[in-house]
């Protein structure tokens, strides 16, 4: 079974640091925002003081990683003229339409894609957008007294509302990212390529044919490792948990209301909100564990 290198060490570590920091930020930030529903988790990890401390440590990690990626990308683009594979082109728009037609059964063939398809590029663009906004609003909330000298109190209060609202969208984004990239039915329980850096040539030919063609690789000795486990009990349980979490979060998002200065809150603090948010929190914890496991396996792999 022939394997090819898909991700560099830098990409692997950046993904891990980003994932860890974002998940810890969500795990600590959501109980603060929705303390009525998720206060139990805050108590579990030691109360509001510890929760906020962890939130800020994760924020350090996120800002460190984001700065690294930003500088690395700019230098790579300008000095080495590389990295164009992550930029959007017109082909991505055509691929997106074709992809949706394929999903809906309107065409028989999915689009042929290069190293990164439109959904991966959207993921990368989405993360960049969210990280910049969340870091900027988070820093304003972190140092309100310092910011208050140049910004009005009205703005600082509004920034907290924006930070909380974006966090909910970010949580949905995380669920969508793991669903569409990592925990797919054909890769269940998880796609390891982002942790090991390698994937089989057979899989690469199926998923990223244009990338393989570009690399001008010879055909390998075959032997696909892709096995469909879509009917397994664990896979069904996972899909069920994501669906419950997603549905309640979508319904919950529609039932958010303004409380003047208090910011976004849920109208209904009943059991459904607690179950939905707790399921989302549980899934995030599961993803955090899976990421640590994946990274440990990746480190143990001989390249």
């Amino acid at each position: 079974m022939k394997e090819i290198k898909r991700f560099s060490r830098v990409q692997i570590w950046v993904h891990t640091l980003l994932g860890l920091s974002v998940m810890v930020l969500l795990l600590t930030g959501l109980p603060i925002t929705f303390s009525d529903q998720l206060g139990w988790f805050m108590s579990l990890i030691g109360g509001p003081g510890i929760t906020m401390l962890l939130h800020r440590l994760a924020a350090w990690m996120l800002i460190f990683t984001a700065t690294f990626i930003g500088v690395h990308f700019i230098l790579t683009r300008t000095l080495l003229r590389r990295g164009e594979e992550v930029l959007f082109t017109l082909k991505d728009l055509r691929d997106a339409i074709l992809d949706m037609k394929y999903a809906l059964g309107l065409t028989d063939e999915p689009p042929k894609i290069g190293k990164y398809d439109w959904i991966r590029k959207m993921n990368m663009a989405g993360v960049t957008f969210f990280v910049i906004l969340m870091a900027a609003t988070g820093l304003m909330l972190w140092f309100p007294l310092e910011v208050a000298s140049s910004v009005s109190l009205t703005t600082i209060i509004a920034v907290r509302t924006v930070h909380a609202g974006l966090a909910i969208v970010f949580l949905l984004f995380l669920l969508a990212h793991t669903t569409s990239i990592h925990l797919r039915p054909d890769k269940f329980p998880m796609d390891m390529s982002i942790f090991t850096g390698y994937m089989t040539l057979e899989d690469a030919k199926k998923e990223f044919p244009l990338w393989v063609e570009k690399m001008d690789l010879e055909a390998g000795d075959g032997g696909s490792v892709v096995k469909s486990q879509k009917n397994s009990l664990y896979y069904r349980l996972w899909v069920g948990a994501v669906a419950v979490s997603f549905l309640t979060l979508v319904i919950g998002s529609l039932r958010l209301r303004s409380e003047g200065l208090a910011g976004l809150r849920l109208i209904d603090a009943g059991a459904w909100a607690t179950v939905g948010l707790s399921t989302a929190l549980g899934l995030t914890l599961l993803y955090l564990g899976a990421m640590i496991y994946g990274q440990a396996k990746g480190l143990g792999r001989k390249s």
Partner: protein, 96 residues
């Protein structure tokens, strides 16, 4: 510049930013973060007392709330629909 050098320069810049952030944060060590940022109690105080004092802030935040409400709702539905389509695609691919 080679790739390793780019990585080193990027790491150096990231560490400088992180170092500054840690230094800046340390200068606030006299504050009690647990008490200051106990979000729930802060909110309750604001919700109970501040609207009367900062009416303008409440009105502005109400508008921002409405905007965020729309962003969250549209974002949630869009992400849900896209995820469902991706899921359908991968189920089809897995059956192939």
């Amino acid at each position: 510049m080679k790739e390793d050098q780019i990585t080193l320069v990027s790491l150096a810049v990231a560490f400088i930013v992180l170092g500054y952030l840690i230094y800046y944060t340390a200068s606030f060590s006299s504050q009690d973060p647990g008490a200051y940022f106990a979000e729930k109690s802060l909110r309750n105080v604001e919700a109970a007392e501040l609207p009367g004092i900062y009416k303008d802030a409440a009105v502005f935040n109400g508008k921002v709330n409405s905007l965020m409400y729309a962003i969250v709702a549209v974002g949630a539905i869009l992400i849900a629909v896209l995820s469902l389509l991706e899921y359908l695609k991968f189920v089809k691919l897995a059956r192939k």
